[in-house]
Assembly symmetry: C2
Homo-oligomer: 222 residues x 2
């Protein structure tokens, strides 16, 4: 059995932060770091960091710290970032275009081979070299090109039917930007980006900070 | 002291899902629901739901369930969604435009009063009625209009300096789309949308599903 069975998603969701931090260190030519130093950069406690990284085997050495390069490559492997992924985007609005224009994704191995829409004025265009095709061609394109990832940036009203089509065509994962919970078979991954939810968390935090501030103010100022 | 002190962020981060679910129920004219029924819709256990909602006082009644309308309004209050927020967007690329075009945000009370960029071909344009102004006017605009939220959709290279400017102008919260951790004073809220991190979680999940599948396959098929 591989080591990383039964690791909680809370740990997994912290890994991209480690990944980014280690990449920054390598860019700065820092090759060795202690959990204490990592703690300062990441804002997690040193013990949290040691615990997180122990899940994946013992990369740290007492009195030496972590080998940044080794740790970075290990986390890349764990996150599945050591190979390329072929993707399509469905829905060529601003959000779909923002994703197609995000060169960064391609650097990490996520290649968008085509975008799909129903709007005839968009079909036939190229966005940063990526063709916009007719939704009708979606299924055939996915099968012919072994596409693994479908990005849904359509209006919410059609998101489930697009998801159904992606699943039927044999997609492995859906990156869903529509503000709804898609219904898909168990063997299909769905990763949601729910912008509304993030916005509501922000308004909660604004409210809480204001409340704290009002509690902290001296009585005579009230 | 208000009831909702010391509630873990894990609970808070689930509230937008309750909020959306309850809104859907109201739209369907369903006014009463049990934690068991909520559990089926939300995919959390009924005991998790009761525990979550107990944090905010006892909205449920034995043998009756929850009053959907009451619970919805209570969650709206907790999330700080019972009032409007004034926002500006800095960075008028595709992502900035996608956010300005997202009518849904406005429905929830988040009003984008202006967008800012340094690109002279964009300055002076209107996006869905929202003016694009020169970055130089950012500070003055925030002060003059009591803007509370700054949305950062600029390239990562300038994100920190934009954040500094927003903070100096007196912003309360930053919705940050740049793939970095901004440094801001303690009294400023930062809510990050790190698309890369979401993408890496997806590649992790794809890898894990493939691994599970290979383990499940009968030996003679390998």
């Amino acid at each position: 059995m591989p080591k990383n069975r039964n690791i909680s998603m809370a740990v997994i969701r912290r890994l991209p932060k480690y990944n980014r931090c280690l990449k920054d260190l390598l860019d700065k030519e820092i090759y060795r770091i202690s959990s204490k130093e990592l703690s300062v950069i990441l804002g997690f406690t040193a013990s949290q960091i040691r615990q997180d990284l122990n899940n994946f085997g013992g990369f740290g050495q007492q009195g030496y710290g972590y080998n940044v390069e080794e740790l970075y490559h290990e986390i890349q492997k764990i996150l599945g970032l050591t190979r390329d992924y072929k993707a399509v985007v469905v829905g060529v609005g601003n959000l779909g275009q923002a994703i197609a224009n995000h060169t960064n994704f391609e650097e990490h191995g996520f290649k968008i081979l085509a975008m799909f829409d129903i709007n005839p004025t968009l079909i036939g265009l190229q966005i940063r070299g990526t063709p916009v095709l007719d939704n009708k061609e979606l299924r055939g394109f996915i099968k012919a090109n072994d596409i693994e990832i479908g990005v849904i940036t359509t209006p919410v009203q059609v998101a489930q039917s697009v998801a159904d089509e992606l699943v039927e065509a044999g997609i492995k994962a859906i990156w869903n930007f529509a503000p709804m919970d898609l219904k898909v078979p168990d063997d299909v991954v769905v990763e949601d980006v729910h912008l509304n939810e993030s916005l509501f968390i922000m308004s909660y935090l604004i409210k809480e900070k204001a409340l704290l501030k009002s509690l902290e103010e001296p009585e005579d100022k009230k």
